[in-house]
């Protein structure tokens, strides 16, 4: 849920949670229960996984960094494949859409780190005693942090393909397959790439968090930067943490320069604008590729493959319902059966979940967990408010100075990508040293990594603020708070909301790692839902994990629907400039 795309409501303009959200929520919880149930039955001694212990020798760091990066890339590849299939299904089939889109919406709100509990058990059981299971669990965790917003973006693009291009491809007899590769995918490309980039940024956080995880009596330690840091925490080695941070910095810079900038610059041609823009994104890497014949030659097989694949004459099965006479009645019958199936499935999942949870939990558990949920909610709200107070004025100040913005903006984006959990120990050391109250002082960790989204979005908004409006404000002598309230704040509002949505989603997620912290043998705990889930995970208390996650899902979804979406819609409708 770190980077959710809740900006455009799915399926019409329904802002309040509707029945489909409930259905989706129940189905997801039901699946978790099923995974755990299956897992619990076959819990095996998994000590075999501790065979290659991580060492704190900095010489090993490059190798660890490489493995971390590989997991990341594997996950992104999975996310892309998932995106193409899921989004295409949802966009092309009305019946699939009814279920898939609310499902996606809820999946975005599931705290990934809580999810990890089940997936680790599941994958370990899939490949008992093999490292592969643990690796897959980790990759899956990263995947769950990346896929949803990418899929949403692709789905929305596919639903908004310009009508004339659609008619043109129809009229020139493109098959469904050709159309998908020639029209749908290119049209979705800019949004998809932007979202992939955001997903990658968010992903570092999860790769680090999921390399070393304890579920009940199972501890998984995969060689990587995350487990390196976990070991450093255990051994109270601050220098090693410094090395890890340095290695991560280098990895992120490399990935940005070698992978993402070239891709963004290349994808500029997919922007659906009829006019050439003044400043196209550039990348030295891409230029290198374009100018160097040898490197170019490397791309030829891909180009040829792309051409060959996209030109295959494959017709998609007609998923959309036919709309004529007799077949209309038939289609309605299928609809009814389909709906009945979904409802039956939902009912069954609800019943099973209830059964599973009620075996160990009673109503008072639910009430206390909701209480914890509200404590964490209060933390998120206060932190977002604080971050807003700090970063909005600074962002505006920077954004209105183009030269400065140009230099600060990449830094802010970089900080957003940097996995803040690597830096947690530094803060924990301070809290321990000065004996500060964890309930208050652990909280800032939740927003440590996500506040930058507010900053760089505000900078982008202020940079895009039209000069003539600023000049007009100047010539009317608008100053002080009036200038802020009447001129600048409305101008940057839509950008700010985008940033705040991302920041708040990320903070919820981070609460699971931020509300509990340790340094050597010292364990700090802040009261809250995040700590509740973290502790239940460590204890292998699955019913409580399910309950905690379900409550967090509901809170996040409500928070999104009742606050962020209306604000976003308002900003788009009233305050979008140009």
């Amino acid at each position: 849920m770190n980077l959710q795309d809740i900006r455009t409501p799915a399926l019409g303009q329904v802002l309040r949670p509707n029945v489909w959200d409930v259905v989706a929520l129940v189905l997801i919880i039901g699946t978790m229960v099923a995974l755990v149930y299956g897992g619990e039955q076959t819990t095996l001694p998994l000590s075999t996984l501790d065979v290659n212990p991580v060492s704190l020798d900095p010489a090993n760091l490059p190798l660890y960094a490489l493995r971390t990066t590989m997991r990341m890339l594997l996950a992104i590849a999975c996310s892309i494949v998932f995106t193409f299939i899921y989004a295409a299904l949802a966009a092309k089939s009305r019946r699939a859409e009814i279920v898939l889109i609310p499902l996606l919406d809820i999946l975005q709100s599931v705290p990934i780190l809580g999810f990890l509990t089940f997936t680790v058990v599941f994958f370990l059981n899939l490949f008992p005693g093999k490292v592969l299971g643990a690796e897959l669990a980790c990759v899956f965790a990263i995947f769950t942090s990346q896929a949803w917003n990418m899929t949403f973006s692709m789905y929305q693009s596919m639903r908004n393909v310009p009508k004339d291009l659609e008619e043109a491809s129809q009229s020139f007899h493109l098959t469904g397959w050709q159309r998908f590769w020639r029209l749908d995918v290119p049209f979705a490309m800019p949004g998809l790439i932007w979202n992939t980039m955001m997903s990658m940024s968010g992903g570092w956080f999860f790769v680090v968090a999921s390399e070393a995880i304890t579920v009940g009596n199972t501890t998984v330690t995969l060689p990587g930067i995350g487990s390196y840091v976990a070991l450093a925490i255990q051994e109270k080695n601050l220098t090693a943490i410094g090395y890890a941070i340095l290695a991560m910095l280098l990895v992120i810079i490399a990935y940005d320069q070698l992978l993402f900038r070239p891709v963004v610059a290349w994808a500029d041609k997919f922007r659906f604008e009829q006019t050439a823009s003044a400043s196209a994104p550039t990348s030295w890497m891409l230029d290198l590729f374009r100018r160097t014949r040898a490197l170019r030659a490397l791309t030829y097989p891909f180009t040829a493959l792309n051409r060959a694949v996209s030109n295959l004459h494959i017709g998609f099965p007609r998923l959309a319902a036919a709309s004529k006479g007799g077949s209309e009645r038939q289609s309605r019958v299928i609809d009814a059966v389909w709906l009945a199936t979904i409802l039956a499935g939902t009912g069954y999942a609800a019943w099973k979940s209830y059964q599973y949870l009620s075996a160990t939990l009673d109503l008072s558990d639910v009430v206390t967990t909701i209480g914890y949920g509200f404590i964490t909610l209060a933390r998120v709200a206060v932190l977002i408010a604080l971050a807003t107070l700090i970063w909005v004025p600074i962002g505006v100040w920077i954004g209105l100075r183009p030269k400065l913005a140009e230099r600060i903006q990449p830094l802010a984006q970089f900080l957003a990508a940097f996995p803040a959990n690597l830096a947690f120990p530094v803060f924990v050391v301070i809290i321990v040293r000065f004996g500060l109250s964890p309930n208050i002082w652990l909280s800032p960790l939740m927003i440590l990594g996500t506040q930058w989204y507010i900053l760089f979005n505000v900078i982008a908004g202020a940079s895009a603020f039209p000069t003539d409006l600023r000049e007009a404000a100047g010539s009317f002598h608008l100053k002080g708070w009036r200038w802020w309230v009447k001129v600048v704040l409305p101008g940057i509002f839509p950008y700010y909301i985008t940033g705040a949505i991302t920041a708040s989603g990320g903070s919820w997620n981070a609460s699971i790692v931020a509300e509990v912290a340790s340094w050597g043998d010292t364990h700090l705990t802040a009261t809250g839902l995040g700590a509740y889930i973290a502790k239940a995970t460590e204890a292998g208390d699955f019913p409580r994990v399910v309950l905690g996650i379900a409550i967090m899902c509901v809170l996040v979804t409500l928070f999104n629907r009742l606050l962020w979406r209306p604000l976003y819609a308002f900003g788009e409708r009233r305050l979008r400039l140009g």
Binding site: L165, A168, S171, T175, Q178, A276
Partner: protein, 452 residues
Amino acid sequence: MPLASAAFALANQEGCMLDQPNQPSLLDIRGVCRSFPKGSGEELLVLEKVDLTLRSGEIVGLLGRSGSGKSTLLRIIAGLVAPSSGDAKCRGEAIKGPPNGVAMVFQSFALFPWLTVLQNVELGLEALGIDSAERRKRALAAIDLIGLDGFESAYPKELSGGMRQRVGFARALVVHPDLLLMDEPFSALDVLTAETLRTDLIDLWIEGRLPIKSVLMVTHNIEEAVLMCDRILVFSSNPGRVAAEIKVDLPHPRNRLDPMFRQLVDSIYARMTQRPEPKTPALEGIPGSGVGMILNHVSSNVLSGLIETLAGPPYNGHADLPVLAGHLQLEADEIFHLGEALQLLRFAQLSEGDLMLSDAGKRFAHLETDARKRLFAEHLVNYVPVMGLIRRVLDERPSHSAPAARFRNELEDYMSEDYADETLKTIVSWGRYAELFAYDEQSELFSLENPH
């Protein structure tokens, strides 16, 4: 590129040879109707019993007011929309999905921005499964023919509007269609560019270098239709029907200043204004001028400006529509909207292709701003039934406010959602100008109080 021209000439020759009186027609539309669901759930009849036959070797134009269903008919022929009833046949086969041998040129160009000019042109051939060498050859030939030489590797966004539409033409021509469909292909272009493209196209056509047999084009530019077409079908609105068929026998190249040409243009103008069709479908006894009247959005500023222009020299209250359209650089359709709005408000009268100011219109021209607003308000309430209705509802309600949805629903009983939107927009803008009522966009509420 001589090779390409030869290939095209051949294709066209074949077309000419087929052009015998007794050969089957290229396109056969019989009693085609089409309706769309309205906002209120009922059906809105857009096309009613349209007949159309197209033979090889002719350019046929569909001319009609906005909303008369021209594009819908073209989409039916292109296989993008199915008729509700009636027969649509292309080359003797019923049209189900885009027929083979028909290509389309779009008003918005509809080029794929991520493909180069060459790739865009090749697209239609790829779909046909033609191998890459042949594809390249034919695409280059089409590019060459249409005057795009040297732009093969450019992306559409690097081209001007006129060049982009040339790509649109090349893309359609390269598949060597029998029938070329064009939906207002020149209306997104500036005047000079459009004219160049039209003449280029006509030149290629009469030289027999276009690999097509027949052209069907939609336009609402009367001069364009007379300039290019052999036959013009004039559509009436609500529902769309073929109201008249006009043969144009003038030889190419045609000269816009030729008296025969002018006469033809004038007569079509007259025909299109002569009997302003009631703009509402005559539902059970509801007259075309009731609450369900469609109001095209025309800004009150433009109306005032037009009244002033008409009142001043050289018109002195009486203008010939084609002349006025030329002077104001407006399309026929736009000038009709303006004239009709003035006529509706009784500020002017339309007849036989002329626009004459009424006494009220002449008075309006000489009033101050506030007095103008009062006069405008008076006419709105008296002559635009929906305005009277809104005013009455607002007066009657204790809160003196009413949600827009209240009136939208009523409008949607008579018209499609699009038109209800347009009408509501007009109502709001005229009502605001006349200070008849206030409207809050946020809450979508009409009210009597002034927003100060």
